[in-house]
Symmetry: C2
Subunit: 334 residues, 2 copies
């Protein structure tokens, strides 16, 4: 059925029924001028938003409708994770191109609902409009965090180690595989990187755990590539850093696909982005505690660098060579 | 300067500096993975979102960049007003077409900042992406309201009067004037309706006042036209209604421009939308209190109908004729 036949309010009715039941924090969800939600006593509110646009952030040539819905929410959950918080209520705006089928929009909401269930998010409202261009989805997400546990970018201290929560470069490798039809090659290795690109996981448990235990001094999620995320931490903290290229973790799939693509896995890790791993800084005497704790969370954190005094700037160490580390990563408009 | 020359992070820096200082409720605004905001003790959280897309919700043929920024936020403030709440923190996503000038985006943020100042909103974050289609702006806004004061659509009781906070049809009249170059005719009457269309005011003080004094039983803001807003109240409340056409208030400008356009002002009031007046229901013995209170808020509320038992349905009374009231109003996709 075409959306035109159903109209805006008919569509909202159908989509609302696809969504999981909301938690007991939601007093009023979809169906009034605004949602009404109970705050979490004693916590601070977190608020984030991300807009994804067809042919900029995703293409329906390779992405399923379910994956578009999943990813639109997961990227916001990852931002809450990077503060050490717990996600709570989301509002979803969707700009729908003319001629799109109701079934296709329902599939977006299936992905969205799966992601909401996975991370305990209540979808409490939204806006449904037509788009003369491509598909546009915007999600805004609230979260809650204890005032003494919230993790900013700005807490890194010279001497702290820089760690990442898992292997990097998988999302770009997955995108390369999708764009070059490597999915025809149905190996586990390729399925893994494609899954990371289309259905990224937010490191929610891990971020919350690190924050609650007070184990780390600053944290970011890796949405734009390791280089720019680390530089953000350094700028916010008034510090410099060095990254050790040989310490950056990759999966077998990333090195294999990079070889096929004639690219360097290092470039993908530093500038690729969308891995949604966490990068965080840890005081030297807490490294063992982080390693031990994170093992339990089925996550293998790696030391990839060190925070330096600000006057030493940001460097990349490759063997014995030291290069200036520049931001790069995905930058809209450049 | 083209945005391409500046890049995403350069643009975010410039735009952030345009925004008003945030209130002392904001612990962290722009510049981390999420914003961090203090909740209002003892209040419930409100959350709403609206997406506006070029050539669907506005056209740059007639709308200034400042008006686009103002309206994107004002429509969200109006939703908070309709719950009896106070707006708090907003996140702004903007999809920017290639080739747009930095100065043009700055002008959007000037309008946005003016609106934020007017209604006491903190802009605490957002997302800045490129758009292969037209300009897209999404705003999500939080607000706060006392648990015993929040006003839903669902509280209307048979016998309640239906009131509106001010004249209707002005926004459509303004749109007609803009589309038909009536602004060349520089009369006060035309300037007024154009201002309502481009720079709508949210009835924030009035909504909050009505909620705090406990004077009304249900409330909606008129974004889609009086007919569909009243029907929403009736459906949510399990009630019927009758609207008295001769009681619907218009300004001189609306009747004049409707005459020029060969349209009926009634049609504009019922189905035009975007007036952002409030429609609310009032128990008979509180009518005088509402009228007296609202006068002080420089707002002239009018009785336009009455809530009926559900089995009587929803009707429009024109003289001695009774017609079935249908929703209509702006419906995307139909």
């Amino acid at each position: 059925m075409k959306i035109k036949e159903l109209g805006e309010f008919g569509l909202i009715n159908i989509l609302s029924r696809k969504l999981p039941d909301t938690s007991n924090m939601v007093i009023k969800g979809i169906g009034d001028d605004t949602a009404v939600v109970k705050p979490h006593a004693g916590k601070l509110m977190l608020l984030t938003t991300d807009m994804i646009i067809e042919e900029v952030h995703f293409s329906l040539r390779y992405a399923s409708f379910e994956s578009v819905g999943w990813k639109a929410l997961a990227v916001n959950v990852s931002d809450i994770a990077a503060m050490g918080g717990t996600p709570s209520s989301a509002v979803v705006s969707i700009g729908i191109p003319e001629g799109m089928e109701v079934k296709q929009i329902e599939r977006i909401y299936i992905g969205l609902s799966d992601c909401a269930r996975e991370y305990g998010v209540d979808i409490v409202g939204g806006d449904t409009v037509k788009s003369p261009g491509g598909l546009v989805i915007n999600i805004a997400l609230t979260g809650w965090v204890a005032p003494d546990k919230v993790l900013y970018r700005s807490g890194a201290q010279p001497g702290d180690y820089i760690m990442v929560s898992g292997p990097l470069g998988r999302s770009v490798a997955g995108l390369y595989a999708l764009n070059n039809f490597l999915s025809g090659n149905d190996s586990e290795m390729i399925r893994e990187v494609i899954a990371v690109h289309l259905f990224p996981r937010a490191r929610l448990k891990e971020g919350r755990f690190l924050a609650e235990k007070g184990l780390v001094t600053s944290m970011n999620d890796i949405s734009d590539g390791l280089a720019s995320e680390v530089i953000e931490i350094c700028q916010a903290s008034g510090a410099g850093c060095e990254l050790y290229t040989e310490r950056i973790p990759y999966t077998h799939g990333v090195t294999e696909i990079a070889a096929i693509a004639g690219k360097s896995p290092l470039e993908w890790a530093l500038y690729g982005g969308e891995d949604f791993e966490l990068v965080f800084t840890v005081c030297e005497n807490r490294i063992d505690a982080v390693q031990a704790a994170m093992d339990k969370e089925s996550c293998l954190p790696s030391i990839v660098g060190r925070i330096l005094p600000t006057e030493e700037g940001c460097s990349l160490i490759e063997g014995t060579a030291r290069k200036v580390l520049t931001a790069g990563g995905y930058n809209h408009f450049k």
